[in-house]
Amino acid sequence: MYRRLRALRRVTQIVFLAGFLLLFAFAAYPLRSPIPVDLYLRADPLLALSAMVSLRRLLFPLFWYAVPVVVLSLLLGRVFCGWVCPMGTSIDVMERVFRIRGRRPQGEPRWRRVKLYLLIALLVTMVVPAAHRSPAETGLTESVGLSAVYLLDPLALLTRTATWVGLPVVQWVVSMTSDTVTGWSYSDLAGKHPMLDRALAPVQLGLSVVARPASFRLVLLTFLVFAGIVALGRYERRFWCRNVCPLGALLGWLGRLSPVRLAVGERCNECMRCVAECKMGAITDDPKRYRGPECIECMSCAAVCPQGAIALTTGYDGVAREDEMRLDRRRVLGAMAAGVAAVALPKVSLGSKRSDATERVLKISSLRLMRPPGALAEDEFVTACVRCGECMKVCPTNTLQPAVGEGGLEALGTPVVVPRVGPCTQPCNLCGRVCPTGAIAPFSVEEKSHLYLGTARVNRSECIAWAQEKECLICDEACSYDAIVQKAIEGLGRPVVDERICVGCGMCEWVCPVEPLGAIRVDSSGDRRHLGRDRQRLLREEGGQDRGDESPYPDL
């Protein structure tokens, strides 16, 4: 019976991993998915907790999405880790594929409490106020945290690995093989064999435009982190889940009172097979006892027991399960101090928004900090963003890239618009629709006319029209918002940006023929997120009226 249950668990794992990958693939233009493509991230209670605590407000859709996993854990313990979590399954699959068996002899796992200290440190980063503001500023909370949950949340980590590493690699392989094998690019091949094209349509959807493979910064670093997580299995199997994962720690803590437990019967002859099999190191040296918050109910112990002595049962009689966490007080204090440091260190580094006194420093060091439209004000955004990369996956122009310097240390990996890679194309609002925490709040295509990410500026010493006296108005013709006007000087049109109309979408920078940087460049000085949407809209309307537009919103 328990062999069957173990088989069922394996099938369930594969189904949930496949679901994760499928939703990931469906996070692509035109985004027609009946279920939210960021479902797994929304269902993650740790991410929901982080967003709500650090933003100091209840986020309702997110709250409800997180309920099932919490309930599941209260009733069944860490069953999510063993049966559902795509990170856990990925590690299981990798350990099998690469034949990774933990080398470490059995015995008390030394580092299993580390994940609890990490969880405590993360909770502290959510709570500690990282930014204070005067309540006079419209619609903004008085203080926000600077959550570091993105560093260690398994679902955010896996999703961004899939986006930054998996997607480009798969696209690259597909395009290279089709190029080298056939001498034709994929679109040519598909043109010759419409059947093939139709058969591959769902794949194309997920890979979105194989002709232009996506690429991201931070690829190598992200890959190394994931590879490291897998490689640590050589020391202890599922090293990540045992010792590091703060979500596992949270769910284990929630499940301490779970009425479901494993019981070891009289027939046990202490052959220790279960102890060797347990990939979580949850069974103690006495095989009749196990550590509750470590057990992921994978059922392997019951399945391998030659005596059939292990059984699932309910109730609290018998004390086979140890639920005590036994945290060390000094280490808890250390973890809390680490949490404070994790907020303070990036905040005092150059390039972060600290106070009015350093406003100029922000403007200089983060001149290219253009956030996607709809993004919350910067200090709210950096704490709400979990760096899952879902927005970058769905972005059809690849313009959304992980920040590597923009916005300071605290903004590492958050999405920024990099116009030279692609423009933030006007008729698109997908990033706002896939952001699990609402760091990019949903926005309509119409609203993009007044969501100011930045402002384009013409570098007149490089511009072909200004400096070389040649006809060139590509930026003007490509501008989606009619924000560039031609100024006739000595019989030749020269591009000039109307700063009240320009929202900084980067179309001009993308099309500018001047290599390598473009002679018209967007900078974040025109970022007006902190004003709120209503005031930005007013600003846009006034700008339009000043130049006599018939409608403040030129027909899209």
């Binding site: 435009v209 072909i464 108005l473 290599e515 030129p554």
Partner: protein, 305 residues
């Protein structure tokens, strides 16, 4: 500062090419309706129909699609699918016009009809969807794609080029048996007006070479001396009057389709729809001087249908 895909300068060729063009004269270069070539080119101007009828009537007036598309031919249709705009905004070719051309080609026995462009706007999927051309043309039996990878282009020498010496040209265009150019008539911030000759810029990869050349007008004309569509059908059903080429701007409903085999004659007539003299449009004038075709409306036979 370096231009995208900069040109190799070969100034010595320029003078030779100019001399050659002058010597060759113009009449001999106008092909297509060879019987009428001596008397000047013929164009068809259709009005007072729905879009489908306009296309049919204008093509019929030129002798029917069968004259251009032989049985088993591979046809490349090049509309303007350059911008993420809706059809009614008149920045891109009317999808019904494209669809009807595809159907006519199919009826004439075309083995394959490909509808392609190299859009300025990004990304392809959005542009294809918003313009309505993908759906319309695919329903009509065409294969619609965007040539958005340099691998889909090949280098072509512009033998008579003065400002443009070579270009990366869409491979599908080079390999097609028949090329039909289907621009939309618009104003254009840089070239004044834009029709067929300008629309052909969407068949090159390195547009920067046009803009970076000494004169965009001359580059467009140069390109037309080397790459010549077999048929040009200008969509002037709704034309864009301001803020071209992308809009949004004021539009006017003209309800006209202009078709012909002389790419310059068709454009010259289309210019008059905006109240412009064709010679006032820089690239049309340059194309005339380069011997691309006829610009003088007095020498063009116009069939109103």
């Amino acid at each position: 500062m370096r231009m995208r895909d900069g040109l190799t300068r070969r100034d010595f060729l320029r003078h030779a090419a100019a001399a050659g063009v002058a010597a060759a004269g113009f009449g001999g270069l106008v092909d297509g309706l060879s019987a009428e070539a001596a008397a000047g080119p013929t164009i068809a101007v259709a009005s007072k129909h729905d879009p489908v009828g306009l296309v049919r009537a204008s093509v019929q007036a030129l002798g029917g699609m069968g004259k251009f598309v032989k049985k088993g031919a591979v046809v490349l249709v090049k509309p303007n699918i350059g911008w993420a705009r809706r059809p009614e905004q008149a920045a891109t070719t009317n999808p019904e016009v494209v669809a009807e051309i595809v159907r006519l080609c199919k009826q004439a026995g075309a083995r394959e009809v490909r509808v392609m462009d190299h859009p300025v706007d990004r990304p392809d999927a959005v542009v294809l969807k918003m313009t309505g051309i993908q759906r319309a043309a695919e329903d009509a039996g065409a294969r619609v794609s965007m040539a958005s990878s340099p691998a889909l282009y090949e280098s072509v020498k512009i033998r008579k080029g003065r400002a443009l010496k070579s270009a990366e040209v869409m491979r599908d265009l080079r390999r097609a048996d028949v090329v039909i150019n289907v621009p939309i008539a618009k104003v254009h911030g840089q070239t004044g007006l834009t029709f067929g000759l300008k629309n052909m810029m969407g068949t090159v990869w390195d547009r920067g070479a046009f803009h970076g050349s000494e004169s965009l007008d001359q580059a467009i004309a140069d390109y037309a001396t080397e790459i010549r569509p077999d048929l040009v059908i200008v969509d002037a059903i709704r034309i864009l009057l301001t803020n071209g080429p992308k809009g949004p701007g004021k539009t006017a409903d003209k309800g006209i389709v202009v078709a012909g085999t002389d790419p310059l004659a068709v454009d010259a007539y289309a210019a008059t729809l905006f109240g412009w003299k064709p010679e006032k449009v820089g690239h049309l004038k340059a194309a005339h001087q380069a011997g691309v075709g006829e610009i003088d409306l007095g020498r063009i036979t116009i069939k109103h249908v």
